[in-house]
Symmetry: C3
Subunit: 268 residues, 3 copies
Amino acid sequence: MHEQDDLNPWMAIERIRDVSPVIHNITNYVVMNTTANALLALGASPVMAHAEEEVVDMVQIASALVINLGTLSKTWVAAMFTAAAQAAKQGIPIVLDPVGAGASQYRTDTARELVSATPPTIIRGNASEIMALCGEQIRTKGVDSTEKSRDAVTAAQTLHASLGSVVCVSGETDYIVGGQKTFRVRNGHPLMTRVTGLGCTATALCGAFAAVTPDPAKAAAQAMTVMGIAGEIAAEMAVGPGTLQVHFLDALYRLTKAEITQRLRLEC
Amino acid sequence: MHEQDDLNPWMAIERIRDVSPVIHNITNYVVMNTTANALLALGASPVMAHAEEEVVDMVQIASALVINLGTLSKTWVAAMFTAAAQAAKQGIPIVLDPVGAGASQYRTDTARELVSATPPTIIRGNASEIMALCGEQIRTKGVDSTEKSRDAVTAAQTLHASLGSVVCVSGETDYIVGGQKTFRVRNGHPLMTRVTGLGCTATALCGAFAAVTPDPAKAAAQAMTVMGIAGEIAAEMAVGPGTLQVHFLDALYRLTKAEITQRLRLEC
Amino acid sequence: MHEQDDLNPWMAIERIRDVSPVIHNITNYVVMNTTANALLALGASPVMAHAEEEVVDMVQIASALVINLGTLSKTWVAAMFTAAAQAAKQGIPIVLDPVGAGASQYRTDTARELVSATPPTIIRGNASEIMALCGEQIRTKGVDSTEKSRDAVTAAQTLHASLGSVVCVSGETDYIVGGQKTFRVRNGHPLMTRVTGLGCTATALCGAFAAVTPDPAKAAAQAMTVMGIAGEIAAEMAVGPGTLQVHFLDALYRLTKAEITQRLRLEC
């Protein structure tokens, strides 16, 4: 119970609403608008900027850097390396979403080069992405999703051991691997998978929580529970994915301590 | 009646929901989010990727390729050519939306070069775009929209004869020119013209239907009827373009056989 | 009262709905979709195009050009210069939104170079952006927002004197500096600051109103009042930022003379 209390994201939400941390996102075209809106609804201050000429300046005013490979291309990737190096120099959290790692060689290579140049504070992806990022050693042997999750958690542990990054494998249950323990988050709703970019939103929220929570594993757990809880509240009001995304932003904006405490499904 | 049955898109919708075909989109910045959401709501799996370094890999996992010129620029156009060549090699459907052809020389030229390098399976555009793509021979003589539609259908027939592509001219009535017959779709609602990118969504849906329907004229007719029907349902619940787009995604996600059958206004 | 009548934006709204002016936007990735939707909801015809190969053609069919630095990069900036020069040659209104001026040297420099190469008809930004654009001479001495507004209005007057541009400083009260008088608009709602890109929408609406209103100060005042009034109507129906943006588009689409006249809070 004391543990649950300690893991309740409510105080972190209050802090975000209070200090409105600047979160610098180098993200993909598909989700820029919805990511910015989710960060604003939560209480943070999103900045979107990708030109090499200015990413160092932008990182300097940011409390966290979020890098997302969703629609990567050469000039954007160059800016990601520059921004990550600057963030590491300042010691602010870096969150990476290796969107589509495994789907093309270019993505897989870029994701691996990024994590090896500047190990992120938090990496968040689905099972396939985390396994692709981990590389040759791990291969999914089964097709059912339980087996896939198990393999992805093994990949996450390997990545954590080699990079020191907290690794979040998201899915029906989200697993957060870092330090001595693994957090499991069981919040969320299946309709969320029918809205584009909610995974990317989760990554951006990891940035916002990492900006106010020193322990990155705890920050990732906070982000994933808050995503899931806002998604549950929205799903109860929604009749489809269109209304879901509208209510999701409202829910994020209106979250109360009671809702969080009542719905929290976080174990470690 | 047998014909109508055969043209009812319901079985194709069930197939899309069942197999969730990967649709690779090289599309414009304005509509990336809404296109991805429409494909997800319908049951397909959207991929958005435009870097030359990876488009071949992405086409390889796709069941259809959708190319949209909405916010074209040099590097994107190069990737469109590469992706189209790969799609043709694999024999998967290619759908082209020549957004704004006729509005700038660059768009008109690019659209013509694309269709001549790799004739698309389906081309979907409004009357002006189809006439611009067809070129010098056809010129709209009248200003009223009936005359314009007639000219555009003539242009579509010319394009079909020279390229072999199915050509869909969308408007109050959508005309689908291909093979021996021309389909006419009378579904839709005027409020849809006040939401940006629903034409682009229609094009992406052509890709999803072409992924599960071997006859491309039928696939285009399915896409246009489903667009129109979801739009009608949404318009009945909407009070303006904001609510329309929300309800449109919900309607697309919830479409039933009864709704489709009852509202279908497709002739050939 | 005669003054108020003269400043009522209703006739300009009717004109926009009637002639549907083409507004060419070179804007940022975050807001492209929502900007296009707001222009459509108002009754205008948005065009989004940024390739140097075509911006001259696009400006030629436009009634106003809107330039927004939100996610600038080298190739886009080059197109902004080209498009602005063409718009000046044609004598159509140019509206600039110096998003993030002051946040990075690159933005501040680009914004200053743009206004000095081709002085915009209207510049719209928040207090910090207008002060950054104005440069060294003005520095905010206080931290409270009244003092900041006062400094920003001084900066706006300096910019107006040197460039001839109408300068709109937006905030809780919007100040429009141009010619002999300064307009003050007190419409709007605090929840609007929790939706990304409503400032960019305001800039785009300045373009639409400038396309039909010869006096640019009046056009900017019309745009800011209409933004604020649609935002107020939307906020009364919204429970958070998600529903706000949906209702905002509906409100913009449905605005009536009675609503405008009743809610108008414009002084000069």
